[in-house]
């Protein structure tokens, strides 16, 4: 197990290094003069010179890259050009929205999808199964930002139960802050739950045909007991894999859904930074989002090596 973890940690480090290199090359090397990209061709030469000095553009690219990575390791992400505050500070503020939002969305989607998937497998080819799978097919087709708009239309505009957008902040009233995340979390969770329910159903069905389930049934266990106690536990491995892969879609979805609800999270930050051409913020936030995806998948890898020892030795 230790050798397996070491190998995966090395792989993780290499992937993170490669991701940072790609982000750096795209934003700082390919455009030629990033300061010109940020300020536009109409900019005053003095302003350009000042920004070039601030970004250290007089130094060669490899040196700038190393300085950026060293800063990342120290937690120093530089100064945002538009907000004039350290990017690290901005990121921490915005994480207070994005992190609870994604956690809430994942919890909702799992809580909904796994029971529905198992129920559909238990009612295989009966109307309950058909109904759940039809809903799943529709859930997969609905874009999360449209669902978000529909939720606003019904629960904010028509019924007035929730606000149509904005975020009151955690310190003022935690209850209202949580409430502001409910509709966005539902919009993010439902399409993911549709996919997860389908995966859970087919994984459980796969397991129900396995010998160990048949043995458990032969020993006198009821079909439901065999399903919940034996099939589901083993079916969780593919379910976990898909949840890891879904995480990247969830983060991408958060970027859009935060914009629908005007939530001041990381997604809104990076969107505004792109509109304002604040490459310093874009560079750091995009790397942070990509790194989160990589790290979550790394954790999933470790988790299912813990669940299934065969995976530790295999390729």
């Amino acid at each position: 197990m230790i050798a397996f973890v070491l190998r995966r940690v090395l792989g993780l480090a290499a992937t993170l290094a490669a991701a940072s290199l790609v982000v750096f090359v795209v934003l700082e090397v390919l455009p030629g003069d990033p300061a010109l990209v940020m300020l536009g061709t109409e900019a005053q030469p003095q302003t350009l010179a000042l920004l070039r000095a601030e970004m250290g553009l007089d130094q060669p690219a490899p040196q700038r890259y190393l300085a950026w990575v060293a800063g990342l390791v120290r937690g120093d992400l530089g100064l945002s050009y538009t907000y004039r505050v350290p990017v690290g500070e901005l990121v921490v503020q915005r994480l207070a929205v994005t992190l609870p939002l994604t956690v809430l969305a994942i919890s909702l989607s799992t809580a909904l999808a796994i029971p529905l998937g198992v129920f559909a497998a238990a009612r295989h080819r009966r109307w309950g199964d058909s109904a759940i799978m039809a809903f799943a097919q529709m859930g997969m087709a609905i874009p999360n930002f449209w669902l978000a708009l529909l939720l606003v239309l019904v629960f904010a505009v028509q019924l007035g139960w929730f606000s149509a957008g904005g975020f009151p902040g955690w310190s003022d009233s935690p209850g209202a802050a949580f409430k502001a995340l409910v509709l966005p979390a539902i919009a993010l969770a439902l399409p993911q739950a549709a996919i997860l329910a389908r995966v859970t159903r087919s994984a459980v069905l796969d397991m129900m045909g396995e010998d160990f389930v048949r043995t458990a049934r032969a020993k006198g266990l009821s079909r439901d007991a065999a399903l919940w106690r034996h099939a589901l536990r083993n079916a969780l491995i593919p379910v976990l894999t898909i949840m890891g892969l879904q995480f990247s879609f969830l983060l991408a979805g958060a970027v859009i859904v935060e914009n629908v609800f005007y939530l001041p999270g990381l997604g809104r930050l990076v969107f505004q930074a792109v509109s304002q051409r604040d490459l310093i913020v874009v560079k750091n936030v995009v790397l942070l989002l990509a790194a989160t995806v990589v790290i979550v998948n790394f954790i999933v890898d470790l988790l299912y090596a813990a669940v299934d020892p065969r995976l530790r030795t295999g390729r």
Partner: protein, 277 residues
């Protein structure tokens, strides 16, 4: 029981094919005819409800919603088609090469594929837009890049199985090289699987394009797009809630069409799966 699953699969496939044909036909028709020119602004008739003159009503600028929807669909399909094509050509090439060569080359390709998954289409789009500015071509690029590793993985996995077959051994014994075996034996045998994957990726590409254009990173005005129509509708949600319904419905139906098509084709390619359904 098995035939019931198959029958349901067939019904899904038929629905998928039907919907895709309608989408393609409407898009083609829009090349020669739309009810109104989609960019025509007509302020006096702004925010009208559905009527005989404007089937789906008009938007805040008095533009005909039905015409925008039809042309927006054409743009969406064109972007999805190009993005999937880019991913298919590059991904299949890389995946087939990885399967044929094996060893370190295969490892490098697969690590690169893993790595690309860290950048969902939206993140690539943000990077590209930050440098080049928004536009349809950048959307194609961002979605296409994300499709490459998907096709590379599917191709390599399926091709490796084919490489283990007896007839490949026979072809090798006959003196054929890696390239000609790949072209003559491997690719024709994995083509079915690739068509299925292409259909499912097409659905994802439509979703991604809609998301990008909602954020303003995709198709630019005056060219209509479903995503931007939804964005514009958001401001008028109280006055004209219908504006937020039509484009979203169009996106959902298109995605559903390609998902049903993909699922149905997969059942045909792999009947074992159909029995599970």
């Amino acid at each position: 029981m098995a035939s019931q699953g198959l029958a349901r699969g067939r019904a899904g496939l038929a629905t998928g094919i039907g919907l895709v044909l309608v989408l393609v036909a409407t898009s083609l028709l829009s090349l020669v005819w739309t009810p109104y020119p989609p960019a025509d602004i007509d302020i006096p008739s702004r925010l009208q409800g559905p009527s005989l003159a404007h089937w789906l009503g008009t938007d805040p600028f008095g533009r005909d919603v039905a015409s925008m929807l039809i042309v927006g669909g054409r743009n969406s399909l064109a972007i999805a088609l190009t993005a999937v094509f880019v991913g298919l050509v590059l991904g299949v090439g890389l995946g087939a090469a990885a399967a044929a060569s094996g060893g370190w080359f295969s490892d490098v390709i697969m690590r690169l594929a893993d790595f690309t998954f860290a950048f969902p289409a939206l993140l690539s789009a943000i990077l590209i837009t930050a440098v080049l500015g928004p536009g349809a071509i950048n959307a194609v690029l961002a979605i296409g890049i994300f499709n490459i590793p998907v096709f590379a993985r599917v191709t390599r996995g399926a091709a490796l199985q084919i490489w283990g077959r007896d007839y490949i051994l026979a072809a090798r014994a006959a003196g054929k090289g890696g390239l000609s075996i790949t072209v003559e034996h491997v690719l024709p045998n994995v083509a079915g699987l690739l068509i299925v994957q292409a259909s499912l990726q097409f659905a994802l590409a439509i979703l991604a394009e809609a998301g990008l254009s909602y954020l303003g990173f995709g198709t630019q005005p005056p060219n209509p797009s479903w995503g931007r129509m939804l964005n514009e509708a958001q401001t008028f949600m109280r006055a004209a809630p219908l504006l937020a319904l039509f484009p979203g419905f169009a996106i959902a139906v298109s995605v559903l069409a390609f998902n049903l098509l993909g699922d149905g084709l997969r059942d045909l390619v792999d009947p074992k799966l159909a029995r599970m359904r």
